[in-house]
């Protein structure tokens, strides 16, 4: 089985909010210097889903990412988790692509790879939080998508997917090839192994350009984006922030309840 996992390298979404800074003029997030970029957590879980399938049957896993030179670190990370091959899709023409442009770039790379059965993506990139690329990719490839998976199992030419719904899950069956987007409920991704890190260091990671994937340039880059970002800012808090203190935890707790009673909150 040939599995492709699409990953994105992002600013650590779990950094302390105090370190999060925005350049409102440039409408860009300022990457915090002391905190390294990482693979978007939902994408790492998509890698985990692929690796769990590979534990049960023979499979080759290829990771794809659209990005710049630093993206090689993201690819190396997933290679060290156990992914077999990695490819970086990078070209000046790709810069400023929106989710639809990105999905198109990935679809062209996947067409070039040709022989694929399962494509896994995170449910959304944990930076822009759109949740579009996996589904748009499926549309562009003309194959179905199952979103928000918490379990993915292959059985012959079919896939069995448990997808998260409010207050439970549903079980979907679908013929390959298919795109599946993975949600937090799948569980934690594994850490890189020592052997994996050594293997990953030796691995060559090819870079494919727009020309390599026969990209229609009218569909990528900032010019093809379907929306304009007109502002980016950190919202101000409108909460009261009233601290209730006491001689000790128990006293503070008692006073808190009284205060809430005064406010008719209880």
């Amino acid at each position: 089985m040939n599995i492709i996992v699409c990953i994105k390298q992002i600013i650590d979404p779990e950094m302390p909010p105090a370190k999060f800074k925005v350049d409102s003029q440039a409408k860009k997030v300022i990457p915090p210097e002391s905190i390294p970029l990482k693979v978007s957590p939902f994408d790492a879980q998509a890698v985990e889903a692929a690796l769990r399938i590979k534990e049960k049957q023979s499979a080759t896993i290829t990771a794809l990412t659209v990005g710049q030179a630093t993206a090689s670190e993201a690819i190396k990370h997933v290679l060290s988790m156990g992914v077999d091959e990695g490819i970086i899709l990078s070209d000046a023409a790709f810069e400023g692509s929106d989710v639809f442009g990105t999905a198109y770039i990935l679809s062209q790379a996947i067409r070039k790879i040709g022989n694929y059965h399962l494509i896994l993506c995170g449910r959304q990139a944990a930076d822009w939080d759109m949740g579009v690329v996996g589904s748009a990719l499926a549309e562009y490839l003309g194959i179905p998508v199952v979103t928000l998976a918490r379990k993915v199992e292959a059985s012959g030419a079919n896939l069995r997917v448990e997808r998260v719904i409010p207050d439970g899950h549903e079980v979907a069956e679908v013929a390959l090839p298919v795109v599946v987007t993975v949600s937090s409920e799948l569980g934690q991704p594994r850490l890189p192994s020592g052997k994996g890190i050594i293997m990953a260091a030796r691995k060559k990671v090819p870079i494919w350009s727009a020309k390599d994937i026969e990209c229609d340039l009218s569909r990528v880059g900032a010019g093809a984006a379907r929306s304009d970002l007109t502002a980016l800012f950190i919202p101000t808090q409108k909460r009261r922030g009233e601290m209730v203190s006491g001689e000790n935890a128990a006293d503070a707790a008692a006073k808190l309840v009284l205060r809430l009673r005064e406010e008719k909150a209880i």
Binding site: V29, V132, S245
Partner: protein, 331 residues
């Protein structure tokens, strides 16, 4: 784009009744339609939709497109995608609104990709730019650390709307509207749903609870969640959690509140040992009153709460439970 007109809302059903998000979408849709000076339509898919159709008109729809068929009794991607794209191609709405719900999350990206439309997901504010009549879409990004404002270049302008972000429509039974039945013919379904497993949480529906007491990463053992449950029980509320306790199996995933979990907006939200990460606050920021109990005075939760105490929950909660009991019994 002059040949795109009006606002279309995808109405959602839940348990054979109009879902709360539908009234919120119609409330927002009515306001936007008024601001562009055009009409509001609703698209309703399901089975047995008579009452829901009337309700959509009462809630502000001038036209309701209805697909009333057992084939649509539950959501399926391919069927909904076919119908929504067909209706959009026929009526060419300038704006299409869906909920940022299980259905909207799955469907909106597919519709946008198929139509070549623009899309903003999880919008918390929508308004019309007076000069251009374009839809100005505000959505949280970076897990809620920042807000982005976006204007579309491609039509229809599709937006999914976060639950509890928009004021619901006030139904007016005297309103008149046109009902248009759509014949969809036979549909291809590439994904088969073979089983649905509902998890009983044994408590009030989180989204409907007036009081929510939620536990966070500071709670390390399942038995310590009993204190959270006890406080919730005394206050007649429901129990929630951040992602980590769910991930660690202390409580079921159905308890997760946040950007990728449930969105709640109770009168009172008590955050116990919760750090206050934006990804979690996204799920509770609509609460009337947020109370924080955390032993770390630097925790972000105190910046986003109305009331807070710096205290270890193991010491604070038993006292809060006792005091709340006293208040309830004296009442």
């Amino acid at each position: 784009m002059a040949d795109y007109r009006g606002v279309l809302v995808l109405a959602e059903m839940r348990d054979q009744a109009t879902a709360p998000i539908t009234r919120e979408l119609l409330g927002a849709g009515r306001r936007l339609a008024q601001d562009i000076g055009e009409g509001l339509s609703a698209l309703l898919l399901g089975s047995g939709l008579g009452a829901a159709t009337k309700e959509a008109i009462a809630s502000g729809a001038d036209k309701v497109y209805v697909v009333d068929s057992t084939a649509f009794a539950s959501y399926n991607s391919d069927g909904y995608l076919t119908v929504v794209t067909k209706v959009c191609q026929e009526i060419r709405p300038a704006i299409l609104l869906m909920g940022q719900t299980s259905i909207g999350r799955d469907l909106a990206p597919l519709v946008a990709a198929r139509l070549g439309a623009s899309l903003s997901t999880d919008c918390v504010d929508l308004k019309i730019e007076p000069a251009t009549k374009k839809l100005v879409q505000t959505r949280p990004v970076y897990g809620g650390n920042a807000l982005a404002v976006v204007v579309s270049k491609a039509y229809p302008q599709i937006a999914t709307v976060r639950a509890r972000a928009m004021k619901p429509a006030e139904p007016d039974a005297s309103r008149q509207g046109e009902v248009i039945a759509i014949d969809v013919g036979s549909l291809e379904t590439r994904v088969r749903i073979v089983d649905v497993v509902k998890m009983e949480t044994g408590q009030v529906k989180l989204e409907e609870a007036k009081v929510v007491v939620a536990g966070g990463a500071g709670i390390s053992e399942a038995k310590d969640f009993d204190l959270v449950k006890e406080l919730a029980a005394v206050l007649g509320g429901a129990v929630g959690a951040t992602r980590l306790p769910c991930e660690d199996g202390l409580v079921p995933w159905g308890f997760q509140i946040g950007q990728t979990g449930k969105i709640v907006a109770p009168d009172l939200y008590i955050a116990v040992a919760i750090s206050g990460a934006p990804q979690h606050m996204a799920g509770c920021s609509g609460s009337k009153c947020i109370v924080a109990v955390n032993k770390d005075p630097q925790a972000n939760i105190f910046k986003v709460a109305d009331f807070g105490i710096v205290a270890d929950y193991k010491q604070a909660l038993p006292v809060m439970i006792k005091k709340c009991q006293e208040i309830k019994t004296s009442h």
